[in-house]
Symmetry: C2
Subunit: 258 residues, 2 copies
């Protein structure tokens, strides 16, 4: 199981939209995917159709170490995609888990458990909150690599260096194997100069780390969650769905897994 | 001085864009405005032209109680707009300030200081991070009222009830005077159904709390920060600038201050 943290402390850059639609696209390619919702907002859980009433046990219980993964993990309506859901209970975790022994390794330990390993997922995608807090740190410590969604706008580009510093720090301390999986340009508006400029800057500074595939702004991607399904289900031929499929193929090629 | 917290735990809903452009619009109406940047990302500071090199003392120093406000506050290039800047130093605050006595009242005390009061600002606008953490709690405890930017999309609408619960909880404990200033629809795309649906839902459930003024999606609003000025300076006749001006007038009317 390769574990990918989907992280960016800037808000609204399509972390969750990427977690949902990359998961669905990988499943379409025959992969088995576990989406780990590490955001108290629970958007990934909602967008994959796991209603609040179904979230009896959540990632919070798993971090505390006292829940059987088989009881927590929910099979979604999207074949091949399972979820460890989140609820707002998670929002006090920065404080509640602060004094727990090895508090940055809780997610790593949870995903290393026998039950999760035996389920044989090909990929675990961790949806992070918009913060470099204990939850995101847990994700970066648990992950083999971090996928960075980069919204094609100024504030998002500005925040990238801070994220890179955090990744380096984690690599030097808790997780020496942590790599950058890649940087995905999201919510891209081909017609406007700013989007093109951000893309140019990103490719100039980050080179091959930036995926060829760019996710365009497409209203279908923002409508899909209100139907509790990925865009690939809601409107399979929309620009947004096609872009995430194409991204999944590029992602798999990079992993020699296509 | 009326203190307004601009809060919403959902990321990327235009909290910062609203802080910057409401401040500039109020200043155009002759008001004196203090923008308090409570986000470690420091986007409001950047968007108002306070470069990182100028942020020697920041909101973090003021929260710790050992900084003279006159030394921290920066006069921006926008006449009538001053800033208490933020840097990434603030991101460890959840943890570092946890054991400080009355940790939720640090901002209230800082803004109640003689130096701030004597400066005679008409309004203080607090830009919050995308989280219901100690920083946002400080803002809600310090504020007279909270202004909620509501992006016209599904996930943003979903998160509203959690925010309202938090506001009620703060009102019942630390800040009985806390009101909802209003809900501002932001990043609105008139042409798409989802935007219109979110607007309808918001007006149905929240009634008069929702401003008449709606901020449209307008690329000038996202370009302005890369020039380190408000949209009102960058492109004064753009749809975005005009909308924030019109919002400022509605805001002032509600405060019997126009
Ligand atoms: N390519 C796109 N085109 C149009 N809308 C999009 C696109 N990608 C995401 N969105 C919408 O933009 C908003 C922000 O996306 P999303 O919630 O996935 O970002 P996020 O980084 O997970 O946010 P947060 O920081 O709050 O967790 C959502 O309403 C989403 O539906
Ligand atoms: N009306 C608008 N039209 C176009 N772009 C906008 C508009 N409002 C904001 N933006 C852009 O959308 C992005 C998100 O806005 P902003 O950073 O103000 O949101 P935020 O709620 O402060 O985000 P965060 O949760 O990360 O603090 C920014 O790149 C901003 O420039
Ligand atoms: Mg998200
Ligand atoms: Mg902001």
């Amino acid at each position: 199981m390769k574990t990918i943290a989907i992280a960016n402390q800037k808000g609204g850059v399509a972390k969750t939209t990427t977690a949902i639609n990359l998961a669905a696209s990988l499943a379409e390619e025959g992969k088995s995917v576990l989406v780990v919702d590490m955001d108290p907002q629970g958007n990934a859980s909602t967008g994959l159709g796991v209603a609040v009433e179904q979230r009896n046990l959540t990632i919070y219980d798993m971090l505390l170490g006292d829940a059987d993964p088989k009881a927590v993990i929910v099979e979604t309506e999207t074949k091949g995609v399972s979820v460890i859901p989140a609820t707002t209970e998670l929002s006090s975790s920065d404080v509640q888990l602060y004094n727990v022994n090895k508090r940055s390794f809780l997610l790593r330990d949870a995903l290393a458990s026998q039950a999760v390993q035996e389920a044989g997922y090909d990929y675990a995608l961790i949806d992070c909150p918009p913060s470099l807090n204990l939850l995101t740190v847990n994700a970066l410590v648990a992950a083999n690599a971090v996928l960075i969604p980069l919204q094609s706008e100024f504030f998002a580009l500005e925040g990238l260096s801070q994220l890179m510093l955090t990744i380096r720090e984690i690599r030097q301390t808790a997780n020496p194997r942590l790599r950058v999986e890649g940087v995905l340009l999201t919510m891209h508006d081909q017609r406007n100069n700013l989007s093109q400029q951000v893309e140019r800057d990103a490719r100039d500074t980050l080179g091959a780390l930036v995926y060829e595939t760019v996710i365009p702004r497409n209203v279908r991607l923002s409508e899909a969650p209100s139907f509790a399904v990925p865009a690939l289900t809601y409107d399979p031929t929309s620009k947004g769905a096609l872009a995430y499929r194409s991204f999944a193929k590029e992602f798999l090629k990079n992993n020699n897994d296509l």
